[in-house]
Amino acid sequence: MQGIPGGGTRPGLSPMDRQMLLIFSFILAVALGQMNFTGDQVLRVLARDEKQLSLLRDLEVLKPQKVDFWRGPARPSLPVDMRVPFSELKDIKAYLESHGLTYSIMIKDIQVLLDEEREAMAKSRRLERSTSSFSYSAYHNLEEIYSWIDNFAMEHSDIVSKIHIGNSFENRPILVLKFSTGGSRHPAIWIDTGIHSREWITHATGIWTANKIVSDYGKDPILTDILKAMDIFIELVTNPDGFAFTHSMNRLWRKNKSIRPGTFCIGVDLNRNWKSGFGGNGSNSNPCSETYHGPFPQSEPEVAAIVKFITAHGDFKALISIHSYSQMLMYPYGRSLEPVSNQRELYNLAKDAVKALYEVHGTEYIFGSISTTLYVASGITVDWAYDSGIKYAFSFELRDTGHYGFLLPATQIIPTAEETWMAIRTVMEHTLTHAY
């Protein structure tokens, strides 16, 4: 939208600002005076020439107080926006039509818009002040999850802290939850969810898992032993920009939202942007592709933040990266069929983890290396982790196997999280008892 040239009644405010101001003043009026705008519309009229413009100005005279110009008649090239009360719609439209003035309906019903705005404002005030009423069996948006993170870290500040490890491309904070029983720096375990934004079950599982850890600490002997010796780090929303986009515009968005001059397609596949076999098979150099690897390794702030954090820490012993869907538990490599040096150990550990998972709800997972189980993929998280010396690097693909795919019903969140937890716990326990 262009700024107002000469003719605006409020110099310095863009038409968008002016509109917002008007909307807010309406809300106030509605709140205070119970005004009702049901059925009122905002029409956008395109005047072809000065003659048509003056016809519009005449309208103001003909129907004083009945037509409210949000963007007044200024020049023929500029659209004219006017609010028309429901009772006047028929007359006004007849006037426009009879004079050959083309118009479109910008807002079909102002009251609806006002109600939505009011609801949104009330909602943001209502944002939960504690985690006790947060529903673990529902999908949440970014604001709700970030609010939950704040509350959660505060409520369990004895073992949980929130760390800001960087910012996304669109400048959203990248947050990590640290679970620690204190002491000087312990060896650590990393878990990330949501690297692909459309995989909603992963964020939901991560949140449930975080809560499970604080609930079971002190009660589950295995978890308690793990936390006494090691720290756990969980990054719940690894791709915050993509995640926000799945709520606002495109539920099936996978990549981040980075834009580069010269390319028209948006986003890099964050699970192809790591420095391990970067650019190889199973990644794509076409920026419009869902597996576009980006211009160079770690080019994406979301990936760079993690690399920086894990490298600076220097003592991560296990890394678990969670995706959906396919029901698989896998270890490196993705970039080639070459087996890793401790392949047999990882095979057996995966087998145990999958068995523990199965025993919860009977869900069947297959397991193996990424390249042989799923497909060849280069520049992926777990390959980088393994090459960086993290011996226990695993990738999950959660439920289901294609029936609902990414659109997994919320009723499956808790069962999925419960079974996945048993697999994660198995991996963590092995990491603890096989110190290196």
């Binding site: 999908y139 799945t246 515009m249 495109n250 539920r251 099936l252 968005w253 996978r254 390319t263 028209f264 397609c265 948006i266 986003g267 596949d269 794509n284 076409n286 920026p287 419009c288 592709s289 869902e290 597996t291 396919s326 069929l337 087996p339 392949q343 047999r344 095979y347 087998k351 999958v354 068995k355 199965y358 709800h361 009977g362 869900t363 069947e364 997972y365 297959i366 397991f367 193996g368 290396s369 390249s371 042989t372 189980t373 497909y375 289901d400 196997t401 294609g402 029936h403 609902y404 795919g405 990414f406 659109l407 997994l408 019903p409 919320a410």
Partner: protein, 294 residues
Amino acid sequence: MQPRRPPPPIPGSGPWGPRPVAPLIALLLLLAPVVAAAESESAEHPGQPQDAGLQRRLLQQAARAALHFFNFRAGSPSALRVLAQVQKGRAWINPKEGYKVDVVFSTERYNPESLLQEGEEHLGKCSARVFFKNQKPRPAVNVTCTRFIEKKKRQQEDYLLYKQMKQLKNPLEIVSIPDNHGHIDPSLRPIWDLAFLGSSYVMWEMTTQFSRYYLVQLTSVRQWKTNDDTIDFDYTVLLHELSTQEIIPCRIHLVWYPGKPLKVKYHCQELQTPEEASGTEEGSAVAPTELSNF
């Protein structure tokens, strides 16, 4: 969807039949330069897990292609089947021509919420021969399945579904099924099943030895005409291709009536190249409300 049987967890290879005997080996050697035998692979010998994994994938591809074709040919939205488990199979790879796969697999009802019919087996069993012609579309499929539901009963079910469809208020206003949270309104389930049936034809044609498709969402209904002898359904779906992770919008137009063979026409959108991209916010993987090149 929960598995109802308690088999042991599946390692990279899966529970398969016994190893081939000598005469068969001779036969296999005769047939192709490279033979990939995919028989039993015990969990205690992960020695060649790479081979086992690749074999398993190939057999699954074949089973899926066969099942898409089977669903299409049966033309029955009330009797759709999905893959449960690959049981055994064998593949012949001819680098010049393609991949020939024999596979035996079990199936489950697509709609797990629906009640089992009297006399219907919970698990059906199919055997198929599938020929993937070096990444060309339309794999040749020869498939037979045990009779899950008697044909007459199936037609009765379909006719009930057809009557339900005729009652639908205004399907043209549908936004998406399932919604973004995975929910399908029970009253709209018949539309979804019919959409899945049409999509089966598309997915069969597009499946190759490497690409695998899933139906994600019905995103718009352009036309829904219920006449006395047909349902004319013009709609758009999103398919998910697993190896490239692409979301592919497809416009499908089908004509269906219980007992009559299904007629399908379709057009799927190609992946954007950087030159063709329109420069909008949406970039790739967006379902357009209008397929401009249709």
